[in-house]
Symmetry: C2
Subunit: 467 residues, 2 copies
């Protein structure tokens, strides 16, 4: 100790800033680190204490994580929602995020639902559709309750075409809607006649062409495409250019052999080619497939879904059944398109955070330094995000490696205990929707899952352990 | 000073190791840095001294570099070598690298030339072709002497189809042969009947299909594709997967509209789709275009070509006309395919180092951390290569940015003075050919341009300044 105080001191002060003052006054060099004890709520701290260092939870997580790793999401085809979704009501519309009533919904989701009602022929105009939707005659449910996911508003109505993804390892099927492209699209709440006409083209031309193409192509495993895309600058959430191109390379030869007429072939190829996010919905359904495999393991503290409905953010946990643990959806810190600002932004929206739940998206941001031009920050921030998420995850997914971190496998298996213990919130890359329906995307950025979802889940998990 | 020696010393010893010994013996902590004074040859040092800090050379380099930046290589079409190469002899074969005689050539180049003779109908068998080639009846010249480039053996014979690249800014045309794909291919010296049949298919089916497609597509600027590929994990020399996919996305809709018959369309798409290096030859011809724009500026010390014929490595310098400055080609430090080792490797071969000359390839390796799985090293090495090349280049090419270095523009415009002054040799990513003809690629790795090419060029440039 006498040696220590004989030399000039460099001090790191963690937490309360006033501890640093006398040291600084005495002439030492002090760096302040902002820090507060995590789990500051006493009840949550007690609940967490009951859940740490338990062999049974470790074993449950090992089981859940093993199932997640073993899943092999495989693109099987395209089908119409009413034909492929078990229990979908004839007048039911699915939306992103946790459950929500019409009255509570944000404007982009309402706009998208109104558009879906017009598309289904249940109403003549969006205004008529809004009256219908508020009348109680239409029922609403989360996509997640039907094994499905959708970006932004995430709308699935009975006659929409869906991607069908099977995991043969766990004999489980997941779904997503098809990406409409950029510009004025239903998922941002647009519902004008051109938006509806495009949805009809997707149902009447694109979907049958994809059915024929996929029948010619046969099964297509999605993890290898996602893994290769991670080596090509995608994080497969907000950058899908490489994955979409790799998909196109697989689809085109099959499309040529599928006997499509020349105009259909040309229109379909032009449409897919023009949309760098075409793969996004497949990425999401593949992530849903891997995470559903991990769901339902008693005692497991691993997160199997994170989703937002534009009002609330919800998570599901493997060992906690179908319960959603919710908190208000965050506002996103991002880069806005010219003319827009945070004041225009809808709170966090969409099922696409299933990618981060799965260890890609912002968790794999080290693979995608170029994305900082779109979501903000620097290349170092991108690396730091992937590294930091390693503190709150159960393991690493060796199927998905990050070249810039010397092929480190991506961190995956968010553990609610680690989130609450460290106070590190899961990071999410996301598009930002305008808070009014139909204006569309106004930017993109980085946000974090609200910590209170995780502390509520910790409390609930602790209650399941009565010993 | 008394303060300095009062505290424990940490010493960095640069150069002669024996200087460190007494310090280490006295108990200090010493790190040795290997270093020798560059330009140790006295005549070269004098020549270099005459070339530094000259306003006229700076101005010449500014002119040359400005032309390099302004070039806009544009894919215009595909033509047959004898129709598009000015002055190509009827029995002439072009090869990669600086000039070389048949007797001096390495086996893969001889094998490829023999294959080209059979392909041209000048000989029935490769053996007969080798006799013919050695007889003096066939003339040989570097691709570079005809504004062309070719990977590995780089063979161009009169009836081969070539990419035609125009730079409208400087009204200049460059060329490359078409990539044959992987496996048994002419560019590695293979010349069996299936190799020849594939070349015939490329001439008779692929080339006309590309002509029709490019007529439908119109002009295609190549720099934007290369720039986008750098954001997708390519360095556009040994990783071309993204650039090839982006090219395919541009070609397919045009191919669909070009009225090709269904079988041709399917065969051509399947062929292009199966070759992640399909873009390489376009990348090379685009680089040749940019560097030709910079060539021929009196007094400029910038390198406008680096090329290897498998025996010798040669460079050309903007201010030094058509002279090649040569040194023996290096052996490559790389990763070998199973069953092969350095003993199997041909020395450095091919015109593809035109990419590094242009600031991409290994110079842009920071864009492509995933390439270290192919050429060896770590992600940090990839970043370090791009950073280090900044010490020997005139400027940066803002058309080509490196996301992992926070979008730093790639270093470009190799200055022979800086290479000789620093002793830092230009780094090159490269495939490794088997030293016997026809076995093909046996690995890939990293090598460096031989420094003596640059010191010879410095001596020659100094002679042009008589003041």
């Amino acid at each position: 100790m006498s040696d220590l105080f004989g030399a000039p001191l460099s001090v790191i002060n963690v937490g309360l800033a006033q501890f640093a003052e006398p040291i600084r006054a005495a002439g030492a060099n002090v760096v302040d680190v902002e820090w507060a004890p995590p789990a500051h709520d006493e009840d949550i701290a007690r609940a967490l204490a009951r859940l740490v260092n338990r062999a049974d939870i470790e074993a449950a997580n090992q089981t859940a994580f093993g199932r997640y790793l073993a899943a092999q999401p495989t693109l099987k085809g395209v089908g119409i929602a009413r034909d492929v979704l078990d229990g979908l009501g004839e007048r039911m519309i699915l939306h992103s995020g946790p459950p929500i009533t019409w009255d509570e919904m944000c404007a982009p989701v309402r706009g998208a639902i109104a558009g879906a009602c017009v598309y289904e022929g249940w109403a003549e105009t969006p205004a008529e559709a809004e009256t219908l939707a508020g009348s109680g005659e239409i029922s609403f449910a989360p996509c997640h309750h039907f094994g499905a996911v959708g970006p932004m508003a995430g709308i699935i109505s009975p006659s929409m075409p869906l991607w069908i993804i099977e995991d043969p390892v766990h004999d489980h099927t997941t779904f997503s809607n098809l990406n409409e492209g950029l510009g004025k699209v239903l998922r941002f709440g647009a519902n004008s006649p051109d938006v509806i006409a495009h949805l009809e083209w997707m149902r009447d031309v694109l979907a049958p062409a994809l059915v024929a193409t996929l029948e010619t192509l046969g099964d297509l495993e999605l993890k290898p495409i996602m893994a290769q895309a991670l080596h090509m600058g995608d994080e497969v959430h907000n950058r899908n250019g490489a994955a979409s191109a790799l998909l196109i390379k697989r689809l085109i030869p099959a499309a040529l052999d599928a006997g499509l007429d020349a105009k259909t072939l040309s229109d379909v190829v032009t449409f897919i080619n023009s949309n760098d996010h075409f793969f996004l919905n497949l990425s999401m359904a593949a992530c849903k497939s891997m995470l559903d495999a991990a769901h339902g393991v008693p005692g497991s503290s691993l997160v199997t879904a994170m989703a937002r409905n534009g009002v609330n953010f919800g998570i599901r946990v493997s060992g906690l059944g179908d319960t959603w643990f919710e908190a208000p959806a965050s506002i996103i810190d991002g880069l806005f398109f010219p003319g827009y600002s945070t004041a225009d932004a809808n709170p966090d929206l969409g099922d696409s955070s299933i990618t981060e739940t799965c260890g890609i998206g912002a968790f794999a941001m080290a693979a995608s330094p170029a994305i900082v031009q779109f979501v903000g920050g620097t290349a170092s921030d991108a690396l730091a995000n992937s590294r930091r998420m390693g503190h709150i995850t159960f393991g690493r997914n060796t199927a998905f490696t990050l070249p810039a971190l010397d092929f480190m496998a991506t961190p995956a298996g968010i553990d609610i205990r680690k989130v609450v213990d460290t106070g590190i919130a899961p990071v999410i890359n996301t598009g930002i929707a305008h808070r009014e329906a139909g204006i569309g995307q106004v930017g993109a950025g980085i946000t974090h899952a609200p910590l209170t979802c995780f502390s509520a889940a910790v409390a609930a998990l602790a209650e399941t352990f009565v010993d």
